[in-house]
Subunit: 145 residues, 2 copies
DNA sequence: CTTGACCCTGTAGCCGTCTACAGGGTCTAA
DNA sequence: TTAGACCCTGTAGACGGCTACAGGGTCAAG
């Protein structure tokens, strides 16, 4: 076979076999050409495409959004005002996320400094940490797994 | 009533009424004190807490992760090695998200540049945008809403 | 030509995250 | 004292995003 089968693609993309079909259904992967007997034949491009999907998904984009992003990713050629607007909207979202992450990061860093300082000082009775107690309480609460 | 009712909190936090209870169940909101008749009485702090939850959620953290982050949000005092480890793990997650966002941003910027260039050059017949056509095709596919 | 790995389709189930509803109690204003 | 808005609990349903399985076809090695 000249192209990749579904299983091969799944393996290359490090993704579940069934997920490939699922993504095809959702329009994230264009329907592959078939052999005479109905087997899908994927090109190398499909691997890259799935990689992009993974990355975008990890960033919190929905599959619907990823589908839109993919179009921009792959078709650099012609474009018009509406498309540009969409791109700009996505960019704004991304920039905002970056700002928020920055904020969260400095927050966590401050907490970490605090933590290290406290560890350096007391270094005794490690079972009196109120934070841990609190976590234990929350974790054991009904409905939390 | 001196505190906020569940409904009032929901409105203040711009969140669904039922979701408040759901979050309480999941340990994202500590169980509020009750009136004699059983009504919850929320403090202003709950509004801030829900705001934090929203922001963290938008950044792609699961509710479980948000719950862990909340600990750092509210308790800076006590510290121990386990907490520090958790902090470091969260920091790594945040850093990773930032890197991925950076990558995505440059993708989007490249597409946008392409887009603007195309607009500057042709500036005619805006209904021939292949990107849009393709989106329309994909959107109408089964299973995509 | 059979066997085992792989592919096909359709459909059902799972987890996370809500969201809605039923059946009942409470509170306040007229 | 009653109507209407609001609260309570428990539970069911919805939706996104997979993941699994059944029942059957294909293909290449032995």
């Amino acid at each position: 076979m000249d192209g990749l089968t579904r299983g091969q693609l799944a393996q290359r993309a490090q993704i579940n076999l069934e997920t490939v079909r699922f993504y095809e259904q959702k329009g994230l992967l264009s329907p592959a050409p078939r052999t005479a007997s109905g087997y899908r034949k994927y090109s190398e491009g499909a691997v890259a495409r799935l990689a992009f999907v993974k990355r975008a998904k990890d960033l919190g984009f929905s599959l619907e959004e990823v589908r839109e992003l993919l179009i921009f990713q792959e078709e650099h050629t012609g474009a018009c005002a509406e498309v540009r607007d969409l791109l700009q909207k996505k960019l704004a979202v991304v920039r905002n996320k970056k700002v928020e992450l920055e904020r969260l990061q400095s927050h966590l860093l401050a907490a970490l400094r605090n933590c290290n300082q406290a560890l350096r000082q007391q270094s005794q009775h490690p079972d009196t940490c109120p934070v841990l107690k609190r976590m234990a309480r929350s974790r054991s609460r009904k409905g939390v797994r």
